[in-house]
């Protein structure tokens, strides 16, 4: 709220920011310190449960080629699944919102499907696409993304204030224009919160999918085979890479959201 008057740019702004972020940075440093010294030295946490932070960082550096190759493969699977799943969901939501009886008939099943643990299908998709095909993992990620994006987009498209629609009718606007000028823009906040959830799900789908087959260099396989060889630091390094990718993916969607919803009160009030 203090940033509301963002027009008043003063040098103290930097100091203010530092003060704002200092506690978060302190917590981060404390967490790392606990990882590095407190857990192994004081609590006696064994190496195979959680290796020291410095060991994980060393593994990260030493195995960087392996990790980067794996990360690239898994990222492609996740992004591919995200694009396919979310894209199909948005198109399906538009169709279901446009022909409402159709949507009403399918909606209960969509919500039920949303609750299915899709990850359970992972071993089956290998049978569909072949054990080494990346498509099994793209499919898992896509299906994971599909339902939340569909349900949220549909909700966004249909929960428009009725007077907004009546107003468009009074301009004799055809249905296409109502969608273009009212329903779609007002659904965007819903769509983006669904896409953020989907970015996380796509990452989970791709990594877990790796465990069941596909390329032997994928990131999930790196975690798995390092555990089998008792090289726990390497597993943790791979998990760290997967986490960073997940956060970066999420942050990218959040960035696009800020740009696309620059008109939105919640974005603009932060002072842009």
């Amino acid at each position: 709220m203090s940033t509301l008057d963002s027009t008043a740019e003063t040098p103290s702004r930097l100091g203010e920011r530092l003060r704002y972020w200092a506690p978060a940075v302190a917590v981060f440093a404390l967490g790392l310190a606990a990882w590095q010294w407190f857990l192994p030295d004081v609590l006696g946490v064994e190496d195979f449960l959680l290796p020291r932070f410095s060991d994980v960082v060393r593994a990260l550096i030493e195995e960087r080629d392996l990790l980067l190759r794996g990360a690239w493969i898994t990222l492609k699977e996740a992004v591919g699944g995200f694009v396919l799943g979310s894209g199909a969901a948005i198109i399906a939501a538009l169709v279901l919102a446009r022909w409402r009886p159709f949507g009403n008939a399918l909606m209960p099943y969509m919500i039920a499907a949303n609750a299915i643990p899709i990850i359970a299908f992972a071993p089956i998709t290998n049978a569909w696409f072949g054990l080494l095909s990346p498509w099994s993992k793209v499919t898992i990620a896509a299906v994971l993304c599909f339902f939340p994006v569909l349900v949220n987009t549909l909700r966004g498209l249909t929960s428009v204030d009725p007077e907004s629609i009546e107003l468009m009718r009074s301009y004799a606007a055809p249905e296409r224009e109502v969608f273009r000028r009212v329903r779609i823009p007002s659904s965007l906040p819903y769509v983006f919160s669904a896409l953020k959830v989907a970015s996380v799900l796509a990452m989970i789908g791709a990594v877990v999918g790796d465990y069941f087959g596909g390329s032997l260099e994928a990131l999930g396989i790196v975690v798995l085979s390092a555990v089998n060889l008792s090289r726990y630091a390497t597993s943790w390094a791979a998990i760290l890479v997967a986490s960073i990718m997940g956060i970066a993916f999420y942050a990218t969607i959040a960035g696009v959201e800020r740009y696309a919803l620059s008109w939105h009160p919640s974005v603009k009030r932060r002072g842009s």
């Binding site: 204030d161 107003l167 468009m168 009074s170 007002s186 008109w263 603009k268």
Partner: protein
Amino acid sequence: MSSVASVVSIAGLSKVFGKGDVTALQGIDLQVGRGEFVSLIGPSGCGKSTLLRIVGDITEPTEGDVTVNGKSARRARLDRDYGIVFQAPVLYDWRTVAKNIALPLEMLGWDRAKRAERVKDMVELVELNGFEKHHPWQLSGGMQQRVSIARALSFSPALLLMDEPFGALDEMTRERLNLELLRIWAETGSTVIFVTHSISEAVFLSTRVVVMSPRPGRIAGVVSVDLPQPRTASTREEPRFFELVTQVRELLHATGADEVEEPLAAESEIV
């Protein structure tokens, strides 16, 4: 009023909601002449908003006819004869003030230059210069409603339908916007149907006040307002203004309105 051509002609209109459960309107006959400012006043449940929505072809009547400029209400809507202002401003957050005002013009397929010119005129008309690039939520309630009025007027519709447009605003803002609306009405020569539950507002603005009674909604009486034009802030202090307010109030009381809704009666006492 008989000398001017009718813009709106309502004959034998009734509206029943559900399967005969609620009769919202019954036997409504009303003519609105070109350039008139007609207010519909009555307690909640008298169907005044429903009547307005039927004229605007937002709601269908159960019985009876509505003719607008000699056409059916539906034809008139398709011909874009209506400018509508609701109680809520109903502005689109993703559009700036200027783009909100331009929305109906986009629907009409006006080119960019023509739109920009009209938006400029409209912004001037409602005195929002300097706020063109603001988003609706950056404006006060009164300013938002002015944008809504500018949007409704932007394409010069034959008929302006206003459903309690100032109902959510404070008294000071409301009185200022009343004056502004009268100025706009005089400048544009439009025909207005205005729903309100404020007696003083109805008398101050209108050429005629249509008093409605509740359950089922009927026209209880029509008061012609012979206050001179243009009206100013001091119009509200003239003896004739009070006489007319009293006349409308007595008509309302005769309908049993004061039994229906106290807040309305309380508000009208402010006069």
